[in-house]
């Protein structure tokens, strides 16, 4: 671990440099060019009177700590937390609430978060109101005496709706509410929610941060000491932590985050524009398109539009035909990888959501979600064109 002086210097570096030089990139003991994988569950305590920094890996592991400091640095927070999955990160963060509390959540939230709130946390008497967060009035109208938190996802999944983060956090602060934001789609390269007043930033690091469809992981970051301590107690108490091996793989993936995001976003913009003119496509959702209703707000709060494009082909039959014909993208759940992934929200990520709720949120049977990878964009377009026309 580098000393504090160095960490301050590191924080001043530009994002691309921080990705590679984050303070733990070199093992101090040996000079090795990568943090070692501490595959240890427990740590020898040389002096009973002075407990060591690490005593048990659930409470803290050196490899995981390197990752946790790394994400805190990138998000501009003060404390990072690594979890076994994005849902483990989100469930642990929601456990900050208690029975009788109420939370306001963006309505087109990830299906797994929706399931957690409606099928598990309801039994613990945590009440949720889902609102369309593009409409600020809906957010403020949802306030109740027992409201404790607001949960945002922007751009949302899969219809890429934009929430005005600063407006929501400003209002939340006035009302003493905790704000949480799922930053999976943007990553800290494009969007840094702490600068917009958010209290807890969450990630399914399985996606863009890791970037290779090979690591299941979740991350949380706080920038307040007291809140960080509370979240740490839950991370340690509930035990849904990320292993040393996966922590190392995730750091390895994160080193190329900017290079991957730049490439994928360039391709996604081209793909969205191309789809917008395609006769077989009824609607395209991408914040970078001129007519996207949240474009101005998104440009105010983010540096880029991301690499996910959703589009509607009009019917379930047409979606099925498309999915069976594409050759290049992986037809699978998940997103944010080096390889392109085509998903069908109605049957995959949002299968847990009742059909009528799904339709209210624009997640029709004809909607597909394209996560653009690092393949050549002309190849991807040719493949998609053939599948759409087929």
């Amino acid at each position: 671990m580098s000393d504090r002086h160095n960490l301050e210097k590191i924080a001043e570096r530009s994002f691309a440099t921080k990705l590679l030089h984050f303070g733990a990139e070199i093992d101090e003991q040996t000079g090795a060019s990568s943090t070692p994988i501490f595959q240890a569950s427990t740590f020898h305590q040389a002096d009973i009177m002075e407990p060591p920094h690490h005593d048990y890996s659930r409470s803290g592991n050196p490899t995981r700590e390197a990752l946790e400091n790394y994400i805190a640095l990138l998000e501009g927070g003060t404390r990072g937390f690594a979890f076994a999955s994005g849902m483990a990160a989100i469930s642990t963060a929601f456990m900050l609430l208690s029975a009788g509390d109420h939370v306001i959540v963006t309505e087109d939230v990830y299906g797994g978060t929706y399931r957690l709130l409606t099928a598990v946390l309801t039994r613990f008497n945590i009440e949720t109101t889902f609102v369309d967060m593009t409409d600020f009035e809906q957010v403020t109208n949802a306030l109740k005496p027992n409201t404790k938190a607001v949960f945002m996802e922007t751009p949302s999944n899969p219809t890429l709706k934009i929430t005005d983060i600063g407006r929501v956090t400003g209002w939340a602060k006035e009302n003493g509410l905790l704000t949480m934001l799922d930053n999976t789609f943007m990553t800290p390269y494009h969007q840094r929610p702490f600068e917009l007043g958010v209290d807890i930033v969450l990630h399914s690091a399985t996606k863009f941060l890791s970037g290779h469809s090979d690591v299941l992981a979740g991350l949380a970051v706080t920038n307040d000491e007291a809140l960080g301590r509370r979240l740490y107690q839950l991370q340690n108490g509930l035990g849904a932590v990320l292993s040393a091996h996966e922590s190392w793989l995730l750091m390895r993936g994160m080193k190329t985050l900017q290079a991957r995001m730049e490439h994928s976003e360039r391709s996604a913009r081209r793909l969205a524009a191309w789809l917008n003119d395609h006769p077989e496509v009824t609607r395209v959702y991408y914040p970078g398109l001129e007519d996207h209703p949240g474009r101005d707000i998104h440009e105010k709060q983010s540096k880029g539009y991301g690499a996910v494009v959703s589009f509607d082909v009009g019917s379930g039959e047409r979606a099925a035909s498309l999915l069976s014909r594409v050759q290049l993208p992986l037809v699978a759940v998940s997103l944010g990888a080096v390889e392109s992934i085509l998903s069908y929200p109605a049957k995959m990520s949002h299968a847990a959501m009742p059909r009528e709720v799904r339709y209210e949120r624009g997640i029709t049977d004809g909607l597909v979600r394209y996560s653009v990878g690092l393949e050549d964009i002309e190849d991807l377009i040719a493949d998609l064109d053939a599948a759409l026309r087929g």
Binding site: I48, G237, V241, S334, I341
Partner: protein
């Protein structure tokens, strides 16, 4: 087939394409769908992942259950189990309990209106007294940690069944090699697999095994929804550890029995808590329900001033938390594993400042005894000089 054979064969030749004897580590999160609406059985690694599945099936089989679930830690396994309950539910729990479980119940689950009463789980009258209309389950550790109290699992699970309660047993210390709680009537078995199942102090993991279709389905839903799942590399390492479980447990037991007998005779020791010792109050029940004894025991010193020098002078034995590894570890429960349990409960069950817990490894017993001998002698010298 005997359990030794099942253990050695975990994952063996289950990989159909190459026939690899060791099951591959599937370091993949997403799985291609052959066609829309068709799946290979694997969609997303949180829900189901091939390497984890082999481990989970092995755990279910070894524990005589219907389904297994691998979690990122023992505490993650318990958290997932506790999510079965709802606001207003009540649990009856072993009094002498792992500190992390106590903390989870008292500091976190209590905020959701899930309450717990702590009792000696051998005391059916005491348990009947604690029974409330909203009581849903009994959670038992046997042997308990660190005082090694034994609960009669057949008797308590029959009682629980008659009251409509679920029986949950933490089988970390004995493992299915020595004890299979589901065969004795339990509904759910939980493990900190970090301990004996992993066996090498290198993997953090938890396992849940359920009996019954409905309970297994509920657990699968929670396991996926909460997402505290075990990664493929750690699943593979855990299976690798489990292949030698039988050998290790036999050796742990042999060493622990030799050392417990040695300490029992030592002038500085007040008592040794190990169910294999004939004077242990749970000796007969333990022999009835288990085929062997674990590798940890606790011992109480006559003089608390010995503790610090002993921990400083042990050389071969490491002073560290955790247990169940091939290396010997010594723990001071009052300040380490049980620091979260209030002093009055700790005193009541006997976790005081004279108690040390010894997780006996698979080194040679003579070397371990020699290490203890020199540490005890050095402690005696220092106490006398002071």
């Amino acid at each position: 087939m005997k359990i030794e054979s099942h253990l050695a064969q975990i994952g063996s030749v289950k990989e159909p394409v190459t026939g690899a004897v060791s099951f591959p580590v599937y370091q993949a999160t997403a799985f291609r769908h052959p066609k829309l609406g068709q799946s290979t059985g694997f969609d997303y690694a949180r829900t189901k992942s091939p390497t984890r599945t082999v481990l989970e099936e092995a755990a279910a089989q070894l524990e005589s259950g219907d389904a297994g679930f691998a979690c990122s830690s023992g505490m993650a396994a318990l958290t997932t189990i506790f999510a079965l309950f709802s606001q207003g539910d009540h649990l009856i729990v072993s009094l002498d309990l792992y500190g992390g479980t106590y903390r989870l119940l008292e500091r976190i689950m209590s905020r959701y209106g899930v309450t717990a009463s702590y009792v000696d789980t051998n005391d059916l009258d005491g348990m009947t007294e604690l029974l409330q209309s909203n009581t849903k389950a009994v959670l038992i550790e046997t042997p308990t940690n660190p005082l090694m109290m034994i609960t009669d699992l057949e008797r308590v699970s029959a009682w629980a069944k008659s009251k409509g309660l679920l029986t949950i047993v933490d089988n970390t210390l004995l493992t299915p090699f020595f004890q299979r709680p589901i065969e004795l009537g339990a509904d759910i078995v939980v493990h900190s697999a970090t301990k004996y199942l992993g066996g090498h102090n290198d993997v953090l993991a938890g396992l849940i095994v359920t009996k019954g279709k409905e309970l297994s389905e509920q657990m699968a839903f929670l396991h996926n929804s909460l997402g505290a799942v075990l990664g493929p590399q750690d699943s593979w390492l855990l299976m690798r550890g489990m292949k030698t479980l039988a050998l290790r447990m036999e050796r742990h037991q042999l060493n622990a029995t030799a050392i417990a007998n040695y300490l029992l005779e030592h002038e500085a020791i007040e008592d040794v808590y190990y169910p294999a010792l004939p004077h242990h109050p749970g000796h007969d029940v333990q022999n009835k329900q288990s085929s062997g004894n674990t590798g940890i025991f606790s011992f109480r010193l006559k003089d608390a001033r010995y503790v610090e020098p002993i921990l400083r002078h042990i050389k071969l034995i490491a002073f560290a938390e955790s247990l169940g590894g091939v290396e010997s570890l010594m723990t001071y429960p009052a300040v380490q594993t049980h620091a979260d349990i209030p002093v009055e409960i700790r005193q009541k069950i006997g976790v005081d400042d004279r108690l040390l817990r010894f997780s006996v490894g698979i080194e040679h017993a003579d070397d371990l005894i020699a290490d203890l001998e020199q540490a005890l002698a050095a402690a005696k010298r220092e106490v006398q000089e002071a």
